[in-house]
């Protein structure tokens, strides 16, 4: 240790041994890692001394608690169950999230913004990711953890969880709502409802195609993406936006399903 206290130490490291923007990993990086790691270890140790991990009564398959909540990091998905059937909320959408995340490097062709924080140079990418991550993931987890009580009903944090809270189930399917509101009674049948729903979903996804035909030639970004990458981006974007759209339809018009195919158990 004697050498390191030597005031002439600085001369031992000639500037020429390093390119101007580089530093030695030892000590500069290792020191940071050591200090941050130490703080984290102390933090987790104190936390573990002060707060005990929960342990409830022994497992009892005959007594279902109300509400039964998944681990907190899956509560965003459990929250989606309010708006979609399990096959969508629990299987298809999570799979699309994983696949969509993996596709990001291949569909984001913008060379700017690599290696530094910027919003201005990649507005679309950053706003899409932030919307998906902060709103549809983190925010929905927060709702699931703090605002959902018995029967998966909504409770404000200051309200007592009343297991007998009655919430009127007035949800209707979209075809029924249209039939009711506009007097189009032919939409009430199952076959017409299915065609109506499939048509709506087709129309929804064809917005992406229409936008391509309309703006594709003039828009530089779409040109750079090319048709295949644009198609993937549009599909993932529209699928992601389907969740907030369905949420708003539920809150405002009490819509249950947009499309029903009861013969194969496929309801959206």
């Amino acid at each position: 240790m004697a050498e390191s206290q030597d005031p002439s130490k600085k001369q031992l490291i000639p500037a020429s041994s390093l390119s101007p923007d580089k530093v030695h990993t030892w000590p500069h990086l290792v020191r940071n890692e050591f200090i941050v790691g130490l703080i984290a270890m102390i933090g987790i140790t104190i936390w573990s001394i002060v707060i005990d991990a929960p342990l409830e009564e022994p497992a009892n398959p005959t007594r279902t608690p109300n509400p039964s909540k998944a681990p907190w990091y899956f509560l965003g998905l459990q929250e989606m169950l309010v708006y979609f059937d399990p096959w969508m909320a629990g299987v298809v959408l999570p799979s699309l999230i994983i696949v969509g995340l993996m596709l990001i490097p291949y569909i984001d062709v913008n060379p700017k913004g690599a290696g530094y924080y910027t919003f201005r140079e990649r507005k679309f990418a950053v706003s899409m990711f932030c919307f998906g991550f902060l709103v549809l993931w983190i925010f929905l987890i927060t709702v699931g953890v703090f605002l959902r009580g018995p029967g998966w009903n909504f409770f404000a944090p200051w309200q007592e969880w009343d297991p007998h809270k009655v919430v009127a189930l007035t949800n209707v399917d979209l075809n029924m709502w249209v039939a009711q509101t506009f007097g189009l009674d032919f939409l009430r049948g199952e076959v017409m409802a299915a065609l109506f729903g499939l048509g709506l979903i087709g129309a929804y996804y064809s917005v992406g195609v229409t936008f391509y035909l309309w703006k594709g030639k003039a828009n530089e970004t779409i040109q750079k993406l090319g048709p295949i990458r644009y198609g993937i981006v549009a599909f993932l974007f529209l699928t992601m936006m389907a969740l907030p759209i369905k949420m708003i339809l539920r809150w405002t018009l009490n819509i249950k399903y947009i499309c029903k195919l009861p013969w194969i158990g496929l309801n959206i």
Partner: protein, 267 residues
């Protein structure tokens, strides 16, 4: 013996040790602060040579990396150590699992703090790995040439969730089985492969498979309910299978960080 004599004696002993054959066989270089030693410190150490010996100045800024990736790995190590200790006292059998939890909490020396650390570090690792992904996205660090490493990262994110989820069942209390019941019930709705999913009936008629006992959900739960076989299955996945896969992917992940040009930064 005065101070000067003492110092001379210390120096003599120090030299004897440091210049001994055994010492030199372990430590290949001195500690004197020279550029050569600084580089050897990283290059000749199996753990530190994960890093390059020289690194770009912006890459070591905490405001850039948030240390999220490194801390995720640190938490994985904490979980490995505390997890192995817990394994000495825990039996993944429905009759014993909950009793062993009580035993750990009240009888095993340091059992409670080991369990607490394992629990809280698991939550911490899930938070950190999500933060790490957020940071990597915000800095555009998935852009060429790092596309593939982003994919490995997404797989590690999923594996972290699965590690945490399989561990959730092991205390075998009400919280465990019902959280896992809610989670695994989703698989019942898998299109084609889940007993209650879209097109399940058609699949059943076609293949004779896809019954409550044999579908995507029972593959996870090893039965029609979350029961004793599920506990054993989740235990093996939690302690052996997923950690090994995750460790292999971590090796690939860290290796690729180096091979793809180190921590990302402005050109």
């Amino acid at each position: 013996m005065n101070l000067i004599q003492l110092k001379a004696k210390y120096e003599e002993i120090r030299k004897l040790v440091v210049e001994s054959y055994v010492w030199k066989s372990i430590f290949r270089h001195g500690y004197k602060d020279t550029p050569r030693n600084r580089i050897l410190m990283t290059a000749s150490n199996v753990f530190l040579h994960l890093h390059p010996s020289k690194i770009r100045r912006h890459g070591i800024k905490i405001s850039y990396t948030w240390c999220a990736g490194g801390l995720t790995f640190l938490f994985f190590l904490i979980l490995t150590v505390t997890g192995v200790i817990l394994m000495f006292y825990y039996r993944p059998v429905a009759e014993y699992a909950f009793i062993d939890m009580k035993y750990l909490q009240f009888d095993v020396p340091f059992g409670m703090i080991m369990r607490n650390m394992h629990r809280w570090a698991a939550h911490g690792m899930v938070i950190l790995v999500m933060l790490h992904m957020f940071r990597v996205f915000m800095t555009g660090s998935y852009k060429p040439p790092r596309e593939f490493n982003w994919i490995v990262g997404v797989l590690l994110l999923v594996l972290t969730f699965l590690l945490s989820f399989t561990g959730y069942l092991l205390p075998w209390d009400q919280l465990s089985i019902w959280a896992v019941t809610v989670g695994t019930n989703m698989a019942r709705a898998t299109p084609l492969l889940g007993n209650e999913g879209p097109l399940a009936e058609q699949m059943r008629n076609l293949t004779g498979l896809i019954t409550p006992r044999y579908d995507a959900r029972s593959l996870l739960t090893a039965g029609t309910i979350v029961g004793a076989p599920t506990l054993l299955r989740f235990y093996v996945l939690h302690c052996i299978f997923i950690p090994i896969v995750a460790a292999v992917l971590m090796i690939v992940h860290f290796w690729r960080v180096r091979k793809d040009g180190g921590i990302s930064g402005p050109l």
